[in-house]
């Protein structure tokens, strides 16, 4: 299972605590149809998920971790048959880690439409007996959250202590707060935005065009042709990767360093070129093109304020949970200014919110890395949640 893009030089080791160890992915099947935002309905579907820690007697210590673009339900630990396959947020989740599995019951779930075990374009469409491919409907952040809520029902969790996520995962936490206000006590919204900017959508569109104009794409029916739009996926990943890193970090890690001097050719000469090609290559190996198209669309569509005429504060009015919002100074994909819009909308509603703006050089990727200030704030926030206990008392406005 692939992890999210990790910046070269980013330390995978945790600040403290240790790994949850060997974990097992499970699959939950749902036979009640799920109505999607696009108007279609999924008659039945499966969600791949993992859990770490123990659900307490009161079923009040559950934390849902939502994943970003290309990650999965494999949040922490490793697999018995593949110890190298470490969860994408292993530095955050585990015994003694900021999200401490000695105290919390943590759930990672693969989103609907993804390609790591939950029902998606690579799954079999029962209506045709072949994989869904290009016929899989476009799903939204809200659809994911609805599906996650059914998983919570199945696991007997009426209310999460917290829903947490970075980037697109943070958007899911926001959607949870709006859509199921009585089912979450805290939302941790990290390196996210209230919607995508024109520039964000533009990058997504270039990535989609790279895939869709690949001759091997075949209108999304590439599987029938026993092929895969690898070139498109590679370019899409290279573009995405540039937006995850800061200019500063790229300069520091690669600068203008060359592999073997100038050769007056179009072979990769600069280190940054070979790095991006390597990332693109890896991505093309494990990722599904139809999934990539759909997840970037889900990002583009996310805009809770659309229902309130662009008024984010009114969109967030139904929320009753408390919030921790975190942004990173060199993140230009979802810059701190975007997080401050979320904070302002929450303050306008008198919702409880804390906001940390972490000085970090790693750009958007910083949310996955070991910045001691960042991890300390998240740790302190989870300690505070534990101190509050599970009382689901009605919130008094601040």
């Amino acid at each position: 299972m692939p992890s999210f893009a990790v910046t070269p030089g980013g330390t995978p080791a945790a600040e403290s605590g240790h790994s949850v160890g060997v974990v097992e992915a499970r699959r939950a099947r749902f036979d009640a149809p799920l109505e999607l935002a696009c108007g279609q309905s999924l008659p039945a579907y499966e969600l791949a998920y993992e859990t770490y820690g123990t659900l307490d007697q009161a079923r009040s210590n559950a934390v849902l971790v939502c994943h970003a673009l290309n990650a999965s339900h494999h949040v922490a630990g490793c697999y018995a048959d593949n110890p190298e396959d470490i969860g994408w947020w292993d530095n955050m989740v585990g015994p003694g880690k900021p999200l401490d599995t000695n105290r919390y019951f943590v759930i990672g779930v693969n989103n609907l439409g993804s390609c790591f075990g939950s029902t998606g374009p690579t799954s079999i469409n029962p209506a045709t007996g072949r994989s869904w491919g290009a016929d899989f409907p476009l799903v939204t952040v809200e659809d994911w959250v609805d599906a996650q809520a059914r998983l919570a029902d199945m696991l007997g969790i009426r209310q999460f202590a917290a829903v947490m996520g970075g980037s697109l995962g943070g958007m899911q936490a926001l959607a949870w707060a709006i859509r199921y206000p009585d089912r979450i006590r805290h939302a941790l919204v990290i390196a996210a935005a209230p919607n995508l900017s024109a520039q964000n959508i533009a990058f997504n569109e270039v990535a989609r065009q790279a895939i869709m104009t690949d001759p091997d794409f075949h209108d999304g029916r590439f599987e029938t042709f026993d092929t895969k739009p690898r070139r498109g996926l590679r370019v899409a990943r290279m573009i995405g990767h540039i937006t995850y890193l800061s200019d500063e970090q790229m300069e520091e890690k690669f600068g203008r360093a060359l592999r073997e001097g100038l050769r007056f050719s179009f072979a990769p000469e600069f280190q940054i070129e070979s790095y991006l090609r390597h990332q693109g290559e890896k991505f093309a190996d494990y990722y599904d093109a139809n999934t990539y198209l759909r997840i970037t669309k889900a990002l583009d569509y996310f805009d809770p304020a659309i229902a309130t005429g662009g008024d984010l504060a009114r969109a967030l009015a139904p929320a009753t949970c408390k919030f921790l919002v975190v942004a990173f100074t060199t993140d230009w994909r979802f810059a701190p200014a975007r997080s401050r819009q979320i904070v302002k909308a929450l303050v306008d509603n008198r919702h409880d919110v804390s906001y940390a703006e972490v000085i970090a050089s790693h750009g958007h990727d910083a949310f996955l890395l070991d910045d001691p200030r960042y991890l300390a704030v998240v740790r302190a926030y989870f300690e505070r949640i534990a101190a509050e206990g599970s009382a689901t008392t009605a919130k008094a406005a601040p």
Binding site: V347, A356, E388, P398
Partner: protein, 201 residues
């Protein structure tokens, strides 16, 4: 990770501020440090609101203290807050360290119905004596040397009276403390810490 270090000289202003707040007031605490004032006001007066702090260690300590803290630079103003959205905006022992003094006071009275400002009184006799001797004052309320002080806009009680009067702000309360006790005689000479509550004219 640096631990948050509380300002020297204690926080004798807390009790006075608490006494001036209506119960369950909505409060914005500018430069909230470790959040101990907000936590105190919430505990004894049922106050609710937010602290603003720029320092990482202060933000972390505030999260630990269970208050709502927003990491932000006060020098860039209070753009994230609507007009009259708080009962009271507090600036406790921070005014003297701010670059844009007038701007922040104006912003406080925009987002709050009233403002509470506390500051170390530069007019205290020990400070005057040190200046007469030709040295910059160092005391329990001003514990810095001239070269390492964060305090760039020192003022006296008389200065701040004049500042508020020039802007036609209405002073609701003024208390000057020395050793935690109120000074009623010659406050600008004998007072260490001044606490004002005021509102727009």
């Amino acid at each position: 990770m640096n631990e948050y270090v509380a300002p020297l000289g204690g926080r004798a202003d807390f009790a006075t501020i608490a006494a001036w707040l209506p119960s369950a007031a909505r409060v914005l605490d500018l430069g909230c440090g470790d959040g101990s004032l907000l936590a105190y006001l919430s505990r004894i007066r049922g106050a609710r609101g937010y602290g603003i702090e720029i320092d990482d260690a202060g933000v972390l300590a505030s999260v630990r203290n269970g208050i709502n803290v927003l990491q932000s630079d006060l020098e860039s103003g209070l753009a994230g807050f609507e007009d009259a959205s708080f009962d009271c905006v507090i600036l406790s022992q921070t005014l003297q360290a701010m670059r844009h003094t007038e701007d922040i006071v104006r912003e406080m009275l925009r987002v709050g119905r009233q403002a509470i400002v506390t500051f170390p009184n530069f007019g205290h006799w020990t400070h005057r004596l040190q200046i007469l001797r030709g040295r910059m004052p160092v005391s329990s309320s001003l514990p810095y040397q001239w070269y390492d002080t964060p305090n760039i806009h020192m003022c006296t009680v008389a200065d701040f009276d004049a500042f508020l009067a020039e802007r036609r702000y209405t002073v609701e309360n003024r208390v000057v403390l020395s050793g935690g006790k109120e000074v009623s005689v010659l406050p600008n000479l004998l007072g260490e810490l001044a606490i004002y509550r005021f509102r727009p004219g």
